[in-house]
């Protein structure tokens, strides 16, 4: 088992963790973080599988760089929205994810 594949397997685990977090955590900041974990897992898989035979593959690396920037952009927007929601509703969660109010549950 090459290092690349190991990275990829770790990525799979991160995907699962991120996924569960994204779906189950009601608090928005955590949700957004979970999404980042999910994304990171995907990036790891992309790079790891590309290099599973040991050689360096610049193509997935470049893709991942692109992907990271995209993820940053998305995260920024998500955070801005969450912040806005907090300001407007005083809550850091989506209404369908539980009724308990209060900004305190961070």
């Amino acid at each position: 088992m090459s290092v690349g594949l190991l990275y990829a397997l770790a990525g799979a685990a991160l995907v699962a963790i991120g996924l569960a977090g994204l779906l189950l955590l009601p608090q928005l900041l955590r949700k957004i973080l979970a999404f980042n974990i999910l994304g990171s897992g995907a990036f790891l898989i992309l790079v790891g599988l590309g290099q599973r035979d040991g050689g360096i593959d610049p193509v997935p690396q470049a893709m991942v760089l692109t992907g990271i920037v995209v993820a940053i952009a998305a995260t920024a927007l998500a955070l801005a929205l969450a912040r806005q929601l907090l300001d407007l509703s005083g809550r850091m969660r989506l209404p369908e994810d539980g009724p308990d109010a209060g900004a305190a549950d961070d």
Partner: protein, 486 residues
């Protein structure tokens, strides 16, 4: 010089450029620029369509490298049809938006840049022949759409935008996972390179990639039961935004489903999977229509109508998968026709709904009295759009239904016939729910104000286009046939 005028790159660069310029120009500026540019894009698409009809599908190797090293743009019939739809919807909506935001300034500051990026993303997506590039376009599209939903501010839109963002990110995440698996399996992300490599003996990774990518797209396309994010997002945004989103954005992801299903993953498809998509589509039709009928807010009704109409799109899969080529062709034609018709009609419907809301000052179906008297053209547009959605002739929606019905009857899958018929009747029920209210006189205490002419006429243009599509659908199908996607 001919290279210079190649429509393919310009279709992507032009909206990027005018979107950025609109941002530089400052808040609320750039509307006129946008309209001019979209008109130019429209001409480019027409030129492209001409080229395709004359010379077949076209590939544009960005950077001159060619796949698999570089990224290819592919313009075949299917892509051209979608491009045509995008510009055809965008132009009237741009004109509409200028008038709308003049009357309803909330959210106008950054509408134009975002719309520019949205259109760039759409055009890029339709033309892309590279899985990873598609991922980038998906993200561009998703963020633009989310930004537009939130544009007017307020708790409900922001909530909806956030939900939409998370959903769309999950969808793109799944896509990216799929891309990673595909790259790992085959070493390329170019559709042209991959197509011959993926076979019925594909490894688990490819199948898993197919499942993830399709599921991600279904989520982004808001197919029942993954539609939860759509109604609040589409129903809460300003009218021009709702129109763009319902008409185009979900069509983009549907387009990808179609491409994957018919081309890349065609060897993996099974009748059972196709039936599953069909069942979800049928459920969407019934569920969306039922909820549309239960709405009291006009835009929510229209949004749920989108949920229902998306269902029709997915009926094409059981009708086109592993059936005789005649029926399959008919089904694909029907599905694409439905996408185009729904795009035009739903844009018209949201635009008309927006005008009604501006005129009555509230988003309430029960208080639409007087609209028929004061905004006849708008109501007429709403009605025409409704005709298309109901699938009544002559309209694009009817042509679509016709083709789908034909495929269903030819393949003996009569249960889809029943679904389509029931869906049409349910559609009629909720469309007329609006119409009949609008025919009533103004309720005492309410007043209906005039809206700018541009609002009325742009909505009408869209609705009319949806109708004319029914009368002149043959050229569109001829275009669709280019490149053999269908």
């Amino acid at each position: 010089m001919t290279d210079f005028l190649d429509p393919l790159p310009w279709l992507i660069m032009l909206p990027l450029a005018w979107g950025t310029l609109a941002f530089v120009l400052g808040p609320g500026r750039g509307g006129r620029l946008a309209i001019a540019a979209i008109a130019l894009q429209g001409l480019l698409v027409l030129q492209l369509a001409g080229q395709l009809l004359a010379g077949g599908a076209r590939v544009h190797a960005v950077g001159g490298w060619g796949a698999p090293l570089g990224i290819d743009l592919l313009a075949d019939g299917l892509a051209a049809v979608m491009l045509l739809l995008a510009q055809a919807v965008a132009l009237p909506l741009a004109i509409y938006a200028r008038g709308y935001f003049a009357a309803q300034p909330k959210g106008r500051e950054l509408f134009w840049p975002m719309t520019g990026y949205l259109l760039a993303a759409l055009n890029a997506l339709f033309l892309s022949a590279d899985l990873f590039n598609i991922y980038v376009t998906l993200e561009l599209l998703g963020l633009a759409a989310v930004g537009l939903v939130a544009i007017a501010g307020g708790q409900a839109p922001v909530t909806a935008a956030l939900r939409y963002l998370l959903a769309t990110l999950l969808g793109s995440g799944a896509w990216l996972l799929g891309v990673a698996l595909i790259y790992g399996s085959y070493g390329s992300v170019s559709l042209a390179i991959l197509a011959p490599l993926v076979g019925a003996d594909a490894p688990l990774a490819a199948t898993l990639a197919a499942a993830l990518m399709l599921a991600g797209l279904l989520l982004k396309t808001a197919l029942f039961p993954f539609h939860f994010w759509l109604p609040p997002a589409h129903g809460g945004a300003p009218a021009p935004v709702s129109a763009l989103l319902s008409a185009l954005v979900i069509k983009a992801t549907f387009y990808l489903v179609l491409r994957l299903w018919l081309e890349l993953f065609a060897p993996l498809t099974t009748v059972a999977a196709a039936q599953l998509l069909g069942i979800l589509g049928a459920a969407a039709i019934l569920w969306g229509s039922a909820l549309a009928l239960a709405q009291t807010r006009l835009k929510m009704l229209v949004a749920y109508s989108t949920v229902a109409q998306v269902g029709y799109l997915f009926l094409l899969f059981p009708l086109a998968t592993l059936v005789p080529p005649d029926a399959a062709e008919s089904a694909v034609q029907g599905g694409v026709m439905q996408a185009v018709a729904h795009g035009l009609a739903k844009a018209a419907m949201f635009a008309a709904a927006g005008s009604m809301i501006v005129a009555t000052g509230r988003d309430d179906i029960g208080r639409l009295g007087g609209v028929g008297a004061h905004l006849p053209l708008t109501l007429f547009s709403f009605g025409l759009a409704g005709v298309t959605l109901m699938g009544l002739p002559p309209s694009g929606g009817f042509s679509a239904k016709w083709l789908l019905l034909r495929a269903a009857l030819e393949t003996g899958q009569w249960w889809w016939v029943a679904v389509m018929i029931a869906g049409g009747l349910l559609t009629a029920a909720y469309v007329f729910k609006v119409l009949r209210r609008a025919f009533l006189p103004v309720a005492s205490g309410d007043r209906v104000t005039r809206v700018p002419r541009t609002l009325e006429f742009s909505a009408f243009a869209l609705a009319l286009a949806a109708i004319l599509l029914g009368l002149f659908g043959a050229p569109l199908l001829a275009l669709l046939a280019v490149g053999g996607a269908a």
